[in-house]
C-alpha cells in the first residue's frame, strides 16, 4: 500500500512539473473560416487574387509584434477572419508584443510552426535571412510594387525580396504648420542656412524651434552626420575611428553645438521621452526630427490635432549626401520552411494592400503600405516615401559597431545639452572610445 501511495505521489510531482512548463502565455486569436468575427466585413478583400484562392484546410500561424488590443492587432484579427471567410484558410495570429525579436531567432532555428512573422525590415533582411522564403516570384505574379526604395534595400541586404512592407515609416523634420504660419514662415527650408533662419523666426515669434527627447538624440545627430559624410562615411568612422581627422564629422558636431548655443531647442530639451515632443502639442515648440509615428503619438497623448507638415532634413554645405531621407518599415516575412508559403503570401497581400491596408492606416494613424491608398494621418507622406530613391537607415552605420552605440547616444545627448561645446571636443570624445 505504501509503495502505491509513494508511486502516486511521485506521479503527482512529475505531472505537477510538467504542468508548470510549456504553457503558451501569448494571446492567440483563432480566426477560422466562417468565424463571426469576420464581421469586419466593412473592409473587403485586399487583392482579388488573394481573396479568390481556395485554401480550405490550410492553417497559417502568424507571430505578430503587436499586443492584443492595440489598433494594429485589432485590424490584423479582423483581416485574418475576413481572409478565412474569403479563402477557407485558418489564420492563427499570436500577438507576442515588442519583445518578439528576443524569441524569434530561437523559434525559427527550432523550426517552430510559424508561417508569417513580423519585425523591423532591416532585422528581417539581416538577422532572420536564413529562415525567410524568397517572395520575388510570388510578388511579381501578384503585381506587387509597394515602395521600390524600401524593397530595393531588402534585396540589397538579404539578396532577395524576403519581406513585404506592412507599416512604412518616413523620417525628416515634422512641424506644426500653424506655428510656422504664426511666425510668418511661408516656405519650408531646404538648406541648413535657411533652417537656421526659420529657427530664428520662430524664436522671435516666441515659439521654441526644436523639440528633442534624449531617446532620439542619436537619430537626430545621425541625420546631420549623414548629410556631411553619407552613411558609408559614417560607417567607416564607426568601425575604424578617426573622428577628429574627419572635417565632415567635426563640422557636423560644430553646427549642432552652434544650434544649441543659439537657443533653438525648447526649454528642457533634450528631455525624457516623451516630454519634449509633447511640447509641440502644447504649442511650445514647432519642429522635431523623427519618424512619422511622432505625429500620432503627440496627437493622441496631448488630445490635439496638430496641423502637421514634413520636410526633408536640410542640405548642408559640401555635404556628401544631401538628399537621403529616413525610410524604414515593420514588415512581414514568410518562413522558409512554411508548408503553405503561397497562402501565407496571399494573406500578407490581403493585409497590406487595398481596403484592409487603408483600414490599418486609418485605425493606427500610419502610412499605408499600399501607395495607392490615402495617408489621412500625414498628407504627403506617401509621395515623400515613394519619391525617395536614397533611403537612410535608423543609425545602422553607427550600430555597425555595437560597442559604440550607447556611448554615441550619451555623447550626442551631451552635445544637445550644450555640455560639449565644440565639434572638435565631440570628435575627440568619440575617438577616445576606441
Amino acid at each position: 500500500m505504501k509503495k502505491i501511495i509513494a508511486l502516486l505521489l511521485a506521479l503527482v510531482m512529475v505531472l505537477g512539473l510538467a504542468a508548470c512548463g510549456g504553457t503558451e502565455t501569448t494571446e492567440t486569436t483563432e480566426a477560422a473560416a466562417g468565424t463571426e468575427a469576420a464581421a469586419g466585413t466593412e473592409a473587403a478583400a485586399g487583392t482579388e487574387a488573394a481573396a479568390a484562392a481556395n485554401y480550405d484546410g490550410v492553417e497559417l500561424t502568424m507571430w505578430s509584434m503587436w499586443s492584443s488590443g492595440e489598433p494594429q492587432a485589432t485590424v490584423i484579427e479582423e483581416a485574418a477572419a475576413a481572409f478565412g471567410e474569403a479563402t477557407g484558410a485558418t489564420v492563427n495570429v499570436e500577438f507576442k508584443g515588442r519583445e518578439l525579436n528576443q524569441i524569434l531567432t530561437a523559434s525559427l532555428e527550432a523550426g517552430e510552426k510559424i508561417d508569417i512573422f513580423e519585425d523591423d525590415q532591416s532585422r528581417i533582411s539581416q538577422v532572420y535571412v536564413d529562415y525567410t522564403a524568397d517572395l520575388t516570384e510570388m510578388a511579381e505574379a501578384a503585381g506587387y510594387v509597394g515602395y521600390p526604395a524600401l524593397n530595393d534595400r531588402v534585396v540589397e541586404l538579404a539578396g532577395y525580396l524576403n519581406s513585404i512592407v506592412e507599416q512604412p515609416q518616413v523620417g525628416g523634420i515634422f512641424y506644426d504648420k500653424d506655428a510656422f504660419a504664426a511666425a510668418g514662415i511661408e516656405s519650408e527650408p531646404t538648406t541648413w542656412a535657411e533652417f537656421l533662419e526659420v529657427c530664428q523666426q520662430l524664436k522671435d515669434a516666441g515659439i521654441a524651434p526644436l523639440a528633442l527627447d534624449t531617446a532620439y538624440t542619436n537619430f537626430t545627430f545621425y541625420y546631420h552626420l549623414v548629410r556631411h559624410l553619407g552613411e558609408d562615411g559614417v560607417k567607416e568612422l564607426a568601425l575604424n575611428g578617426g573622428w577628429s581627422d574627419s572635417e565632415g564629422a567635426v563640422a557636423a558636431a560644430q553646427e549642432i553645438a552652434d544650434l544649441v548655443s543659439a537657443g533653438y531647442l525648447v526649454e528642457g530639451a533634450p528631455d525624457e521621452y516623451p516630454s519634449s515632443q509633447n511640447k509641440i502639442g502644447m504649442g511650445q515648440a514647432a519642429m522635431i526630427v523623427l519618424a512619422n509615428y511622432v505625429t500620432a503619438e503627440v496627437n493622441s497623448t496631448m488630445g490635439v490635432e496638430i496641423n502637421w507638415g514634413l520636410f526633408n532634413y536640410p542640405a548642408v554645405d559640401g555635404g556628401a549626401d544631401n538628399t537621403c531621407i529616413y525610410g524604414g518599415a515593420n514588415s512581414l516575412a514568410v518562413s522558409s520552411y512554411s508548408e503553405n508559403q503561397q497562402a501565407a503570401f496571399d494573406f500578407i497581400m490581403f493585409l497590406t494592400t487595398g481596403e484592409w491596408d487603408q483600414k490599418m492606416a486609418d485605425t493606427a494613424a500610419q502610412i499605408p503600405a499600399d501607395p495607392s491608398n490615402v495617408c489621412n494621418s500625414l498628407p504627403g507622406a506617401i509621395e515623400t516615401l515613394s519619391a525617395g530613391e536614397n533611403l537612410m537607415s535608423w543609425c545602422d552605420s553607427i550600430n555597425a559597431n555595437p560597442d559604440l552605440m550607447s556611448s554615441f547616444k550619451t555623447l550626442t545627448a551631451e552635445l544637445y545639452e550644450g555640455k560639449i561645446t565644440t565639434g572638435a571636443d565631440f570628435c575627440a570624445a568619440m575617438d577616445a572610445l576606441y
Binding site: A6, E267, D271, M405, S406, T410, E417
Partner: protein
C-alpha cells in the same frame, strides 16, 4: 527501517532532472559558448567556431563594458551602503517600540508590492520631470533654478535614487526579522547596566546580526550584478552609457535591437561567465570577512 532505494530515487528523480536540464546544462553550455565564436544564442554547435579567449579579450577591452562595470560597481558599493544603512536604521527605529511602527513598516515596504515598471515610470515622468516634476516644484519654491534630473550628468544618480527607494523596504524587513530574534532580556540587562541605545546597537545588535548582514550583502550583490529593469526604463529605445550595466550590455550583444543586426552570443556568454565569477568572488570575500557568529542566544 528498511530503506527502499528505488523509491528514494524515484522521488528525487524529477528534481534532479529539472536541475540538470534547467540549470546545469545552460551553465555548462554558456561556459563552453564563451570560448567560441557564436552569432545566435540558439544556433547548433555545428555553427560554432573555436575562438579561444578572444571573447574575453573583446569584452575586457570594450569601453562600453568597462563603463557598465563602473556603473555596476557604483550601484553595488554606493547604493549598497546607502540602502543597507537606511534599512538598518529604519529596522532599528521600528523595533524600538515607537508608535505607529506597523504603519511605517507597511508604508516603507509598499514600493516592493508595486510593479517596478510602474514605480520607475512614476519617478521618470513625475518626480524627475523637468517642467512639473515634484523635485523641480520644490526647487522652484525655494527660488532656485530648475534642475535637469535626467540629464546625462545626473541620470545615473537619479536612477540609483529611485532604485534605492524601491529597495529599502525589502532589506528593512530582513533586518527587522533579525533584530526581533534577539532576546529582549539582553537589552534589558544592558539598560540596567547603563548602556546607551548606541552602545546597545554596537555591542549587541550588530554582533548578533552578523549572519543577517552577510545574507543581505549577498542579496544586494546579486541585485547589483543582475541590475536590468531600471536601466532599461531610464534609457528607453536605445541603451545609454550613463545607465548601462553589464546585463544590459550582454542583452544588447546577444539580441541586438532597433537598427542593430550585429549579434555576438559568444561575447555575451563571456559577460555572463564574468558576472558569475564576480558574484562567487564577492561571496568568498564575504565569507572571509564576516565569519558566522559563534554567539548563541
Amino acid at each position: 527501517m528498511k530503506k527502499n532505494k528505488t523509491m528514494i530515487f524515484l522521488f528525487i528523480l524529477p528534481t534532479i532532472l529539472t536541475l540538470l536540464i534547467t540549470y546545469v546544462y545552460p551553465v555548462i553550455r554558456t561556459v563552453v559558448m564563451s570560448f567560441f565564436k557564436v552569432e545566435s544564442l540558439t544556433s547548433t554547435t555545428a555553427d560554432w567556431s573555436f575562438y579561444g579567449l578572444s571573447n574575453y579579450g573583446k569584452v575586457l577591452t570594450s569601453t562600453t563594458f568597462l563603463t557598465s562595470m563602473q556603473n555596476m560597481l557604483l550601484i553595488w558599493i554606493v547604493g549598497g551602503i546607502i540602502t543597507l544603512a537606511l534599512s538598518m536604521l529604519m529596522a532599528v527605529v521600528l523595533t524600538s517600540g515607537i508608535r505607529g511602527a506597523k504603519f511605517f513598516r507597511a508604508a516603507i515596504y509598499m514600493p516592493n508590492i508595486i510593479s517596478a515598471v510602474a514605480l520607475a515610470t512614476m519617478w521618470i515622468q513625475y518626480i524627475f520631470n523637468y517642467d512639473y516634476g515634484l523635485l523641480n516644484n520644490l526647487v522652484t519654491a525655494l527660488g532656485l533654478e530648475r534642475v535637469k534630473w535626467l540629464g546625462t550628468d545626473a541620470k545615473f544618480w537619479a536612477m540609483m535614487g529611485a532604485f534605492i527607494f524601491g529597495s529599502v523596504g525589502y532589506y528593512m524587513l530582513i533586518f527587522i526579522s533579525g533584530i526581533e530574534g534577539i532576546p529582549a532580556d539582553l537589552y534589558e540587562a544592558a539598560t540596567l547596566d547603563g548602556a546607551t541605545k548606541v552602545d546597545q546597537f554596537s555591542k549587541i545588535t550588530l554582533p548578533l546580526m552578523k549572519g543577517i548582514i552577510k545574507t543581505t550583502i549577498t542579496f544586494w550583490s546579486i541585485n547589483a550584478t543582475t541590475f536590468f529593469l531600471w536601466s532599461k526604463m531610464f534609457s528607453p529605445i536605445d541603451t545609454e552609457a550613463s545607465t548601462i550595466v553589464p546585463v544590459i550590455y550582454l542583452y544588447d550583444m546577444v539580441f541586438g535591437g532597433k537598427g542593430v543586426s550585429v549579434r555576438d552570443a559568444g561575447a555575451g556568454a563571456a559577460v555572463g561567465v564574468l558576472l558569475t565569477l564576480i558574484i562567487i568572488a564577492i561571496y568568498a570575500v564575504m565569507n572571509l570577512l564576516l565569519k558566522d557568529s559563534d554567539l548563541e542566544y
